[in-house]
């Protein structure tokens, strides 16, 4: 175990009384409570934390926050592991196990580093140019293994994630000086405020800088404000919470990393009336040769490691800058005890408070200098600085680079806001807003503390006013600290060797320039061609440098070049967080039919049909699935079966114009139906395509019960309402879906009537009094029942609809009375075969999105109907009457033996090339008939009765004969018995 050689003797916000043990890349280290994995690694002097994406070059920490491009790690083991986290966002806990991604066997000794030696052969578009012959797919596997980041765990994620919804008046994103001032202003007016902070601690730069606010040290002022906010009931403060996306109408997604309790992460969806974006700014790296050696970091990161974690990134530092903000930062490092070997500034000599202070401290300042080269294999040992006076080599183990600041405009841009380029400050700042939001502080390009406080406070007050709430205005917080000059001069790249722009994706300045030469001049093209700005950091440190180099190369300005589109999420979100609780049993509701428990007790095997759990068959001991199905079919054909059809759609349609309305909805005429009678009907959409079928009952002159298929119950109810509300608002009709109020128990078979007589109905069920296709409203076994004599099986059938709560009682009664007569419960598999034997159309199985009523033999019905109806005009098109359309027919094998597979294509001619002449839609080996039968859509099939067609089965083609689909009881003697 190595010591924490880089830990400063004092300072930082860590708790030195609580040491923590952790493992990284197979070695064990110690850190403290309050560390991140990154700060703990740095404290332990670990310089190489990963390997680069393409060349497997050794990489060290570059940043201290979410913008870190190099230290990409997998945390945890097995199914709980999380790949592709930045070490800077992983809070240290005792026993933490992490390993770098993209290296093997370890980051320090990586086999893939050989790629670095080939580096000069891998320019932009290398893959596209090299792996073209004979096909990219020959190489894809090997290339993807060599490149890429972490590996997703193989098993399901056992962690718990949850979703949370919230509304607020003002959402403040970021808790630095500007965000905190905004939250304080809004909250003291009584608004409902949420303030979210992506880091573990609130405060942003107040944590890492020595400032005075309202006469108090910055951290004390922060603590006081947090206490005040925390005492307000309408204020919600969320740390460890990243605003990941900004969506329409001020909907934002927040990802909260939960540290206590069983939940790992919480995904918030917040609707805010106003949003204040105080997202801060990220420092830019500088682009110079070999700028990716471990030890080369952002200057602001070095400062943060000192101030927040008490860690010195090195013992002897060189600072390289193009702007004035570096001087205050360098001074802070000097005061913390880090030796500053020199500050190298690319500009001519200038003076500011920081310069004066550094000179007074005896720190060498090198003007008009650039770092031209860096030295050291696995870690920085020195740099070569070029000035007009010549070159000199400086020894150092860390280089702090400060290339200016990028306001974090991501959320502002996601919200549809525009950006404007500030040529003096060399940064994109928020321009026009796209939604009810305002950017403040460094996120708005204001780098001085006094401006951040004033701007944030004003935005908080403005947000309250724009919410229409009373404003309690007070004096904004002030500071007497002079922010100092922030002047900057462009230095987009130092020419020479390989200079990295995107560290995470291994994109160099040369790659950007080559892409421009090859005419990938749009930033979006540049991104896809070079991978600049992709992957987990999405270019947080690289985008502006990359597009500035592209602009230079193309002779355009930076605003002319523009940025790539900012899309959610701001930082990666675990898929589990999107999933939330919606997994396994909670993925979607499983609907159970009213008699479900009885089915279960009787050995029913359930499957999902349109969201309903339905018995496929009832297994008896020792029985296979096929055997069970055939037994059930035989029961129906020889005695009786009881089937639960409760999901069948039931919609009441009532009103003086109900008959007229249904005439317009159905392909056939409904208004001529007599009360107490049923009619089978087809519905089409306006394209003339069949969308549903079912049986309509006329309960009274102005009252109908519309039956739909189970899967369409909801859709057809909505369909009827859409026509009534949007097209025929003048019709006096109301509809009411009652599907789940009524259970449907279907008693079918030659003994069905005898069984129903035993069960007892309070109306005459004799064949003459209650014939096929009639309806009675009465009682069965004393239970209120709507009984339809309608058949799906071809046998005498009673569809008994009773209130859902009484279904099981009636079911048990029927089974009890029927069992001595051979009654059996029937599952859906038997039901479908019974239907196929009878040749009844099954919408959705026999029909598809091209099938019209004419295709299924309804031509005469359509031409008979004078009234307009939905889809009629489409059915009048001559092409819908063409003789070569697919028609619904029956099909049987010529040899009487070979089963016809569902889905098989049909051909009238030899060979398999060319248009299909149809396909098989339903098939079974009929238990009743003792031979295979099928239903099919066949080209011109109705005119080809008796002809043969080739069935293209997987095992080889064979001949089948086109026949009527009515295989069983074609005269309907059993049906009408």
């Amino acid at each position: 175990m190595a010591g924490q050689s880089n830990r400063l003797p004092s300072g930082g916000l860590i708790d030195r009384s609580r040491p923590l043990r952790f493992t990284f890349d197979g070695r064990t280290y110690m850190g403290y409570q309050g560390d991140t994995l990154a700060s703990a690694l740095l404290a332990n002097g670990v310089r190489v934390v990963g390997r680069s994406f393409k060349y497997h070059r050794p990489r060290g920490l570059m940043a201290a926050g979410v913008e870190e491009p190099n230290a990409i790690v997998t945390v945890g083991d097995g199914e709980r592991s999380v790949p592709n986290l930045k070490a800077t966002e992983v809070e240290l806990v005792d026993g933490l196990v992490a390993r770098p991604v993209n290296c093997w066997p370890t980051a320090r000794h990586d086999a893939g580093a050989l790629m670095g030696l080939l580096g000069r052969f891998m320019p932009s578009g290398f893959y596209y140019k090299t792996f073209m012959w004979p096909s990219w797919h020959w190489y894809e596997g090997a290339v993807r293994r060599a490149a890429g980041l972490g590996t997703a765990p193989a098993g399901p994620d056992p962690e718990i994630y949850e979703h949370h919804y919230a509304h607020c008046d003002v959402l403040v994103v970021g808790s630095g000086p500007a965000g905190l001032a905004a939250a304080v202003a809004a909250a003291s007016s009584g608004a409902r405020v949420m303030m979210v902070e992506q880091e573990a601690a609130f405060g942003g730069s107040l944590l890492t800088t020595d400032v005075v606010v309202d006469g108090l040290p910055g951290r004390d002022w922060l603590a006081r404000q947090l206490r005040a906010l925390g005492s307000l009931p309408e204020v919600t403060l969320l740390a460890r919470t990243t605003a990941t996306g900004y969506y329409d109408h001020n909907a934002l997604s927040l990802l909260e990393r939960v540290t206590a309790g069983p939940v790992r992460q919480r995904l918030w969806q917040v609707r805010a009336r106003r949003v204040v974006l105080a997202t801060g700014a990220l420092e830019r790296p500088l682009v110079f040769p070999d700028n990716d050696r471990p030890g080369i970091m952002l200057l602001s990161a070095m400062r943060r490691y000192v101030a927040q974690y008490g860690v010195a990134a090195g013992r002897r530092a060189v600072v390289f800058t193009n702007n004035d903000t570096a001087y205050q930062q360098a001074l802070a490092l000097h005061r913390a005890g880090i030796a500053i070997a020199a500050v190298v500034d690319c500009r001519a000599r200038r003076s500011n408070a920081g310069v004066t202070a550094l000179e007074r401290a005896g720190i060498p300042l090198i003007w008009q200098g650039v770092v031209e080269k860096t030295h050291g294999r696995a870690g920085l040992t020195g740099v070569t600085v070029a000035t007009p006076a010549g070159r000199r080599r400086l020894a150092c183990d860390v280089l702090g680079m400060s290339g200016g600041w990028n306001p974090a405009v991501h959320l502002h841009s996601q919200a549809g806001g525009s950006l404007s380029w500030d040529e003096a400050a060399l940064m994109f700042t928020p321009g026009k807003v796209g939604q009810a939001c305002r950017s403040v502080g460094a996120g708005n390009g204001q780098l001085a503390l006094a401006d951040c406080l004033a701007d944030g406070y004003a935005a908080g007050i403005e947000a309250v006013r724009l919410c229409g709430l009373p404003v309690t205005d007070g004096p904004p917080p002030t500071t007497d600290v002079d922010g100092g000059s922030t002047a900057i001069q462009a230095l987009w790249q130092v020419p020479g060797g390989k200079a990295w722009v995107d560290f995470q994706n291994d994109v160099t300045a040369g790659d950007v320039m080559l892409a421009a030469q090859e005419n990938f001049r749009s930033v979006e093209h540049l991104k896809r061609y070079t991978t600049l700005g992709m992957a987990v950091d999405q270019g947080k440190t690289s985008n502006i440098n990359g597009l500035a180099i592209l602009a230079e190369q193309c002779g355009r300005t930076i605003p002319q070049t523009g940025t790539t589109r900012f899309r959610p999420p701001y930082t990666p979100v675990t898929l589990g967080a999107f999933r939330g609780a919606y997994r396994a049993d909670l993925f979607r509701p499983r609907r159970q039919m009213p008699v479900h428990e009885w089915h279960q007790a009787q050995g029913a095997v359930f499957e999902d049909f349109g969201g309903w759990q339905r018995p496929v068959h009832y297994l008896r001991p020792g029985e296979g699935r096929e055997q069970a199905m055939h037994r059930e079919i035989r029961a129906v054909r020889t005695a009786a079966g009881l089937f639960e059809g409760s999901p069948l759609g039931k919609i009441e349609v009532k009103g003086p114009d109900a008959a007229e309305f249904l005439d317009r909805i159905y392909v056939n005429t409904i208004s001529t139906l007599k009360p107490g009678r049923l009619r089978y009907g087809l519905m089409t959409n306006e394209n003339g395509i069949i969308i549903d079928d079912g049986v309509v009952a006329r309960l009274g002159p102005d009252h109908f019960l519309v039956g739909t298929t189970g899967g369409n119950a909801g859709r057809i109810a909505e369909w009827l309402e859409e026509w009534l509300q949007c097209e025929w608002a003048d019709l006096r009709v109301v509809t009411m879906p009652v599907t789940t109020a009524w259970a449907t128990l279907t008693l079918t078979g030659p003994r069905a009537r005898a069984i129903l007589e035993r069960v007892g109905a309070d109306f005459d069920i004799g064949a003459a009094a209650f014939p096929h296709m009639s309806f009675r409203d009465g009682h069965v076994a004393g239970i209120p029942a709507r009984v339809c004599r309608v058949s799906f099986t071809g046998e005498v059938s009673y569809e008994i609809n009773v209130p859902a709560g009484r279904a099981t009682a009636l079911w048990q009664r029927i089974m009890g009375e029927g069992a001595p007569l051979g009654l059996q419960p029937v599952g859906i598999d038997a039901w479908m075969d019974l239907r196929t034997e009878k040749g009844y159309l099954h919408v959705g199985a026999d029909t598809d999105g091209t099938t019209t009523p004419l295709d299924v033999g309804w031509g005469p019905a359509v031409s008979r109907k004078a009234k307009d109806f939905v889809g009629k005009r489409s059915l009048l098109r001559s092409s819908n009457a063409r003789a070569d359309r697919l028609n619904f027919v029956g099909l049987e094998p010529v040899d009487g033996v070979r089963p016809i597979p569902v889905g098989a294509h049909l051909r009238f001619t030899d060979g398999t090339v060319g248009l299909t002449d149809g396909h098989v839609t339903s098939a079974c080996v009929s238990d009743t008939l003792g031979r295979p039968i099928s239903l099919a859509m066949v080209r011109g099939g109705r005119e080809r009765m008796g002809q043969t067609v080739r069935v293209l089965a997987p095992a080889g083609a064979f001949q089948a004969r086109i026949v009527s689909p009515l295989f069983y009881d074609p005269e309907g003697e059993r049906l009408n018995a």
Partner: protein, 92 residues
């Protein structure tokens, strides 16, 4: 996620609604009197403006009522909500 003001239920998340596409499309009829071109226009041809678009929405997980709204297709701003059968209002 749009925030849509249902005329009956007030502002609700988009997830409660179903968009029915362009509104004020006139259904031609009777069927026998409609030309092929006019029917094709009715079935398939829709406005696709950059800017204000009049469309109908159903509050499917609420009051189940259809209504019209005017939405800016660039900013997604909803400029007006009005009942079925009413004429498109003038908005600035």
């Amino acid at each position: 996620m749009l925030l849509i003001s249902c005329p009956h239920c007030g502002p609700r998340d988009e997830i409660e609604f179903r968009c029915g596409g362009e509104t004020h499309v006139v259904r031609p009829g009777p069927a026998e009197a409609v030309s092929e071109d006019a029917w094709a226009d009715y079935l398939f041809m829709r406005q696709n403006p950059r800017g204000l678009h009049a469309e109908r929405w159903l509050h499917a997980a609420g009051c189940r009522t259809w209504f019209n709204l005017l939405r800016d297709t660039v900013t997604h701003e909803i400029k007006a909500v009005y009942p079925m059968g009413h004429a498109r209002p003038e908005v600035a």
